[in-house]
């Protein structure tokens, strides 16, 4: 039943995404601009890691795509609450977990698709990375999207208006981006900033993807990255499902 319900909800929202193809491509614009106009600045700088500057930058841009995109996913649920769609579905026997999973898997599909476009563009710019590493990078984008979109839907179900939602998300996303070393590796940072960044979960994900991009699949970074991503996803999905079960209280 869970599989049936999830597939049904997924199909509904994927069709919704496909109806707005423009938005589908637009999401990739910001990281693409970074790639074009910021990436070339880094090519001759000593970034401290192995590999080229592209192998450092592209993993950061992939996670930035997931971070900013997925955190705003909850906007749609605020609209749907107003239309009564959420309540109409919650009155049917459909699985509450499926109401969340169908939506976040749609988001994961959309963001992995955008991530593929971004990597293709990066290849043109000069990125060279092992295929396995690139695929691992996509897996991390998918996990990050599922967890952040779950958090975002849970928040969207709680707030009353889009005006409340935007500032809340910005307050989370900007510090997360700066403190996780998405743009430049945190190893360049002074000690206090480096320490601080270890309290931001995305730091572990971006370190893991950077290792994957240089073919280092068995590093400690990779282990921590997987643990943090899987743990965070489990927590976020549990919290999100709870909100779909008891919303309105």
């Amino acid at each position: 039943m869970l599989l049936h319900d999830t597939a049904l909800v997924y199909g509904r929202y994927l069709r919704q995404s496909l109806r707005s193809r423009f938005a589908l491509l637009f999401g990739v614009l910001t990281p693409l601009l970074y790639l074009l106009f910021y990436g070339p600045l880094l090519t001759d700088l000593p970034l401290g890691g192995q590999g080229s500057s592209w192998q450092v930058l592209v993993p950061g841009l992939l996670l930035q795509l997931g971070l900013f995109g997925a955190l705003f996913a909850g906007f749609t649920v605020i609209l749907e609450k107003g239309q009564g769609v959420v309540e109409r579905m919650r009155v049917t026997p459909v699985s509450r977990l499926a109401l969340l999973l169908g939506r976040v898997l749609r988001d994961a599909t959309v963001f992995v698709f955008q991530a593929v476009l971004l990597v293709l563009a990066a290849l043109v710019m000069g990125l060279r990375a092992p295929l396995a590493g690139v695929l691992i990078g996509f897996a991390f984008v998918a996990l990050l999207t599922v967890s952040l979109a779950s958090v975002s839907y849970a928040l969207g179900m709680k707030v009353r208006s889009p005006q409340e939602f935007g500032p809340l998300i910005n307050a989370v996303s900007m510090p997360s981006m700066l403190l996780s070393g998405l743009m430049l590796p945190m190893t360049l940072a002074p000690a206090w900033l480096d320490v601080l960044s270890h309290f931001v979960p995305f730091r572990y994900l971006v370190d893991a993807v950077r290792d994957a991009y240089v073919g280092d699949y068995t590093s400690a970074h990779m282990l921590y990255g997987v643990l943090v991503a899987v743990g965070f996803t489990a927590l976020a999905v549990t919290a999100g499902t709870r909100v779909f079960r008891t919303a309105g209280s």
Partner: protein, 261 residues
């Protein structure tokens, strides 16, 4: 007559910053099979909160209720299989076609795909929507939208249909059509209908029995005639007079409390 809905002390308290608020203090009511029940009350009386509890959208914080044989607290999934609910706002996406919404609704009720497609056509025929199947729901008129909302709620042939202010915003013609539809559902399918409304003429014309709630409890109940006799003084009293007599038109104690300065 068998009871389709019965509640005992059904209550809901919301925690707020200034302390708990008792939206519903304890509702005791019975709705019989095949009955059209009008659920009335001033704004803030607890109508919508009660409706949201009976439709499993909100967990009660006190009391008990049975809906069509299923315990509301222990078996909300069982309740969901036998009720239909039309929210005041409706519940369709304006970007999606009538057909897709109807088919999705069938699938949400676990009908196999082919059966859901067939059921969508049946419902469209029954509710006079066949010509609009491939139109986006956002392009429908108010009356058509309302018929679609009801069609969606009837997908699984529910025993009980909950309607939250179903005619708010409809023109007089559409309102009359909707009353006709509700009567037909009861007469032809034996559906029990639980409806809230602010229109007292609607309650008078449509409901077999009325329950008037005020400040989170049942203030009066009975047939429209019996309530008019008891609270309005005669059968010729208007339901408006009756309603005001039950809920008290004078200032409430809170209004006469001394103002803190």
């Amino acid at each position: 007559m068998a009871a389709v809905i019965s509640t005992a002390g059904l209550a809901r308290t919301f925690p707020t910053r200034s302390g708990p608020v008792e939206a519903v203090r304890g509702i005791d009511l019975t709705v019989h099979e095949g009955e059209i029940l009008g659920f009335l009350g001033p704004n803030g009386a607890g109508k919508t909160t009660t409706l949201r509890m009976l439709t499993t959208l909100l967990e009660p914080t006190g009391g008990a209720a049975t809906v069509a044989g299923h315990d509301l607290v222990a078996d909300p999934a069982g309740v969901r299989r036998v009720i239909g609910y039309v929210a005041q706002s409706g519940g369709v996406d304006p970007q999606i076609t009538v057909r897709e919404e109807l088919v999705t609704q069938g699938r949400l009720y676990r009908l196999p795909r082919a059966r859901a497609v067939a059921r969508a056509a049946e419902l469209a025929a029954e509710l006079d929507l066949t010509g609009f199947l491939d139109r986006k729901t956002g392009a429908l008129s108010g009356g058509q939208r309302r018929r679609l909302d009801i069609a969606m709620a009837l997908t699984h042939r529910p025993t009980v249909l909950f309607l939250d202010e179903p005619t708010t915003g409809l023109d007089p013609g559409s309102r009359a059509d909707l009353w006709e539809l509700v009567r037909r559902l009861r007469d032809e399918h034996g559906t029990t209908v639980f409806l809230t409304t602010h229109y007292l003429d609607e309650a008078d014309a449509l409901a077999d029995r009325l329950v008037i709630v005020d400040r989170g409890t049942v203030a009066a109940e009975g047939t429209p005639g019996a309530l008019k006799l008891r609270y309005g003084g005669s059968l010729d009293a208007t339901l408006q007079d009756t309603f005001l007599a039950v809920t008290g038109r004078g200032p409430s104690p809170a209004d006469t409390a001394p103002v803190a300065v």
